[in-house]
């Protein structure tokens, strides 16, 4: 058996020397080392898009902060994942995510099981640093099993990616620009009229907030099973 040659790179994360596969991202290496970098749009096994900006880290020698999920490691790189500057930026990023839509945690199906809510706790954000926008979006309740409430959507695109990359249907995509953006089915039709949706529900299970949820659940009752999707991707890779 010929062993595949593995190229490695050495870098520093929070002053700790680490060695990792040369094509790995900062986030992957940090996860391997047990260093937590907060993230929302990242989901293990899906492509990385750097949409939420929560995983921003500091790289020595660069004035810009870079998203850990889309940045490949470099030899000699020195990464800081939790400096006061980053903490400040993370609070502002979270504030902007909260303020962009009308989340209203207290009446949300995902209250208590929400990744956005959990990030607020972990980053110590107890109020939004920017004013709320309160832009109204219509809810799509046309599907017999699932609902989409864009008012709780953080536009992480996990649903779009899981539908495309795992289910292979690409029934979902992003429509519009800026704060007008929303997730659509096919050509912005009601969910029930989508020709490409297989109703598999993966989009619902990977959604970090209460934007996509199962019909019939009330406030606090929606618990997502994203682990099933992560396991599914892993199992396929191992075949």
């Amino acid at each position: 058996m010929i062993k595949e040659k593995v190229r490695v790179k050495t870098l520093k994360i929070n002053d700790m020397d680490v060695t990792a596969k040369s094509n790995a991202t900062i986030l992957e290496v940090a996860n391997e080392q047990g260093i937590t970098i907060p993230s929302l749009c990242y989901l293990e096994g899906l492509s990385c898009v750097g949409a939420c900006r929560l995983c921003l880290v500091e790289v020595k020698g660069s004035s810009k902060l870079v998203p850990a999920c889309t940045s490949k490691i470099k030899d000699g790189m020195e990464v800081m994942t939790n400096s006061p500057r980053i903490q400040k930026h993370r609070k502002m990023i979270l504030s902007m995510i909260f303020a962009e839509r009308t989340h209203t945690c207290s009446v949300c199906v995902s209250n208590g099981h929400c990744e956005l809510q959990n990030q607020a706790i972990e980053q110590g954000l107890e109020h939004s640093e920017v004013a709320y926008i309160h832009q109204k979006f219509d809810i799509d309740a046309s599907h017999p099993s699932y609902m989409y409430d864009p008012n709780r959507c953080i536009l992480c695109t996990r649903c779009v990616r899981v539908c495309d990359e795992v289910e292979g249907a690409h029934a979902l995509d992003i429509f519009g620009r800026g704060i007008e953006s929303k997730i659509i089915h096919d050509m912005d039709e009601p969910w029930i009229d989508s020709q490409s949706c297989t109703s598999c529900g993966k989009c619902v299970q990977v959604c970090p907030t209460g934007a996509l949820f199962e019909k019939g659940v009330s406030a606090t009752e929606m618990t997502k099973k994203k682990e099933i999707v992560i396991k599914l991707i892993q199992t396929r890779k191992e075949r």
């Binding site: 909260f98 009308t102 989340h103 209203t104 945690c105 207290s106 009446v107 949300c108 209250n111 208590g112 809510q117 607020a120 706790i121 972990e122 110590g124 954000l125 107890e126 109020h127 939004s128 004013a131 709320y132 309160h134 832009q135 109204k136 008012n151």
Partner: protein, 179 residues
């Protein structure tokens, strides 16, 4: 020892956070040793007094009267504590922002009523609704934010104790949005 002058007010909220305050139960007796409650729905006092050390505000700002009163509160208080999600984020009170004040008034005073003899919205003796419901910090400087819906009594107790003892409190370990 001079007692700390504390006030509380209930603006656009459900009073749940004031109920939660009472849910501190016997710990209220302990807090009462250290504070003078000078203005609150719990006491009979019509005017907002001056020289308040800590003003606890429940509810969002929804009316011109709310805006007026929060400015007096800011002027008269050393520290302001936003209690509960309505005061901190707007919460349920602010959900009407999605539809607009006009639509809400129409729903409440025309669509859903059997009788409205005047054919008008009430406009006398009651405050005028703002175009947008806002949390406190969009109108004034807020010193402490304690979210929750309602904020749990244990969190209120810990935060008040922390403020009275002048030590920092990690609020995220006690409560969160929607708790």
């Amino acid at each position: 020892m001079k007692k700390v002058r504390v006030a509380t007010i209930w603006l656009d909220g459900c009073s749940g956070c004031h109920m939660s305050f009472l849910d501190m139960d016997e710990r209220l007796l302990e807090i009462a040793q250290k504070i003078d409650l000078v203005y609150s729905p719990y006491v009979d006092q019509k005017e907002i007094p001056e020289d308040i050390d800590l003003f606890i505000v429940e509810g969002a700002l929804s009316t011109d009267h709310d805006l007026e009163i929060i400015k007096i509160i800011r002027k008269n208080s050393k520290k302001i504590l936003a209690l509960g999600d309505c005061a901190v984020t707007g919460n349920i009170s602010a959900m009407k922002n999605l539809f607009g004040t006009e639509a809400v008034l129409k729903k409440g005073y025309f669509d859903l009523v059997d009788l409205n003899a005047t054919g008008h919205y009430p406009s006398k003796m009651i405050p005028k609704l703002l175009d947008k419901v806002i949390p406190l910090n969009e109108a004034i400087k807020v010193d402490f934010f304690v979210p929750g819906c309602p904020t749990p009594a244990d969190a209120i107790y810990e935060v008040i104790q922390g403020i009275l003892e002048e030590r920092p409190v990690n609020i995220s370990t006690l409560t969160r949005f929607g708790k």
